[in-house]
């Protein structure tokens, strides 16, 4: 193992890391922004959920490298195909969790809220969404960790991020570079996961109330 490599190339690793974070988080954010209205529509109009789920499942099945490559045709090379691909994957996970979370809200709770005079929209934001929040957080965690792991695949089509360490480490036969990439990717995923879990707890104080 050539430990000196890590010392000399720390800047490169940090640069790859920041690009990795950027691509993963931009995709996650876009996924959230699109998933929210779609999820609400699928929840309100039940008939829309079946076909919507089928379409997203088909998109989700396409292997990542194939999806990125097909997107190059449409949007050219660079970060864009990877960001769009990861947005699609995040979207599928988030819509599913949002709808399942909203559907699991007990009917009595909805009835009680209605009886207290909540109108549909206010009830949704003040009662149903907060109760569905743990399911949404679970979806966010899954989408986030999956994005972090998949950004590396983009390196095969020239996108930056920690995947560059794999490609370069392979080309110059440098195991420390490959290991660095793997360890930093896993550490990044776990760190962001902790942030999401922490954020979720702050937003749902009632789930850890002392009984």
């Amino acid at each position: 193992m050539n430990w000196g490599w890590l010392d000399r190339n720390l800047d490169t690793v940090l640069e790859d890391l920041s690009e990795h974070i950027q691509i993963a988080l931009v995709s996650l954010l876009l996924g959230c922004l699109i998933a929210f209205p779609i999820g609400l529509i699928a929840y309100r109009w039940r008939a829309a959920y079946g076909p919507l789920l089928a379409i997203t499942q088909v998109l989700y099945t396409v292997p990542s490298l194939a999806l990125f490559v097909l997107l190059i045709n449409a949007v050219g090379i660079g970060q864009t195909p990877v960001i769009i691909g990861l947005t699609i994957y995040s979207l599928v996970i988030l819509v599913r969790n949002l709808v399942e979370g909203l559907r699991a809200v007990p009917p009595d709770v909805i009835d009680a809220a209605t009886a207290m005079g909540f109108r549909q929209t206010r009830r949704l934001f003040a009662v149903e969404l907060p109760i569905a929040l743990p399911a949404v957080v679970a979806g966010l965690r899954l989408a986030c960790v999956s994005n972090i792991s998949l950004v590396s695949v983009g390196a095969l089509i020239g996108t930056g991020g920690l995947g560059q360490l794999f490609i370069h480490g392979f080309q110059i036969d440098n195991p420390i570079e490959i290991w660095t990439g793997i360890v930093v990717t896993i550490a990044l995923a776990l760190a962001l996961d902790l942030l999401i879990v922490g954020g979720g707890r702050l937003l749902t104080p009632w789930t850890r109330a002392v009984r």
Partner: protein, 234 residues
């Protein structure tokens, strides 16, 4: 679009050791090998953990690490151990396929209503009989979901493995990329996507026909676990 169509329909792609049929067979062979070996390890382990309830926490925390594992890095890392052989890459595919099969089997078995288990024992079944004739069939929808998820990830990872020189459909994407042949790149991607979708469809049919009979009329919530482990993409 035009280049892709031309590439897919030109006759030279459809014959020889580097043609689409040969690459497709290779891809299916690697994937099947990976999933079958993984199932041979993960299915008994999942049954054991689910049945005894021991080791569940360890299995779940290990899966957290596994989800974050970048498949490209893993493939490259194992390839270095013994280049020019397909076995390191098969090992990587097995590593990727084990967690979804193991976790789904474990959750499926653990989530069975203890009353059902007691009833099976009360009818005079031994522990093994209860496991094989009652618990495994009840957990079958989840076990199949795990196999389905694992297979999808293995097909995707086998595509990536073309980077280190493995055959299979990923060759078209990697080779096409190195010579900037857009027709070959997207033609290869289309074939990979079709393979993944076909396999997904086969599993959907299997899940429908092998699930417990009452599961067709009512949701399987009655005996299955309330929360299904999520699928993860590769």
């Amino acid at each position: 679009m035009g280049e892709t169509f031309d590439w897919l329909t030109s006759s030279e792609q459809w014959s020889g050791p580097a043609g689409i049929p040969a690459r497709l067979v290779e891809h299916i062979w690697y994937s099947a090998l990976g999933v079958v070996i993984a199932a041979l390890i993960a299915f008994p382990a999942g049954l054991l953990i689910g049945h005894t309830g021991r080791g569940s926490l360890a299995a779940n925390s290990a899966s957290n690490f596994w989800r974050a594992l970048p498949t490209l890095g893993l493939v490259i890392l194992v390839f270095r151990i013994e280049p020019l052989s397909i076995w390191p890459v098969i090992v990587a595919l097995v590593v990727i396929a084990i967690p979804p099969i193991l976790l789904n089997t474990e959750v499926g078995i653990r989530g069975i209503d203890p009353g059902i288990r007691d009833a099976a024992r009360g009818m005079g079944m031994t522990g093994w009989q209860a496991l094989w004739r009652v618990e495994v069939p009840l957990a079958m929808p989840l076990i199949l979901a795990g196999l389905r998820s694992a297979t999808g990830q293995v097909i995707a990872t086998a595509t990536i493995a073309a980077f280190v020189g493995l055959g299979g459909l990923g060759r078209f994407i990697i080779d096409g990329y190195s010579v900037r042949d857009i027709g070959e790149i997207s033609g290869g991607a289309v074939v990979v996507a079709l393979l993944a979708l076909t396999v997904e469809g086969v599993f959907a049919l299997l899940q429908r026909s092998l699930g417990p009979k009452e599961g067709r009329r009512r949701p399987r919530r009655v005996s299955g676990p309330a929360v299904q482990p999520e699928e993860v993409h590769a």
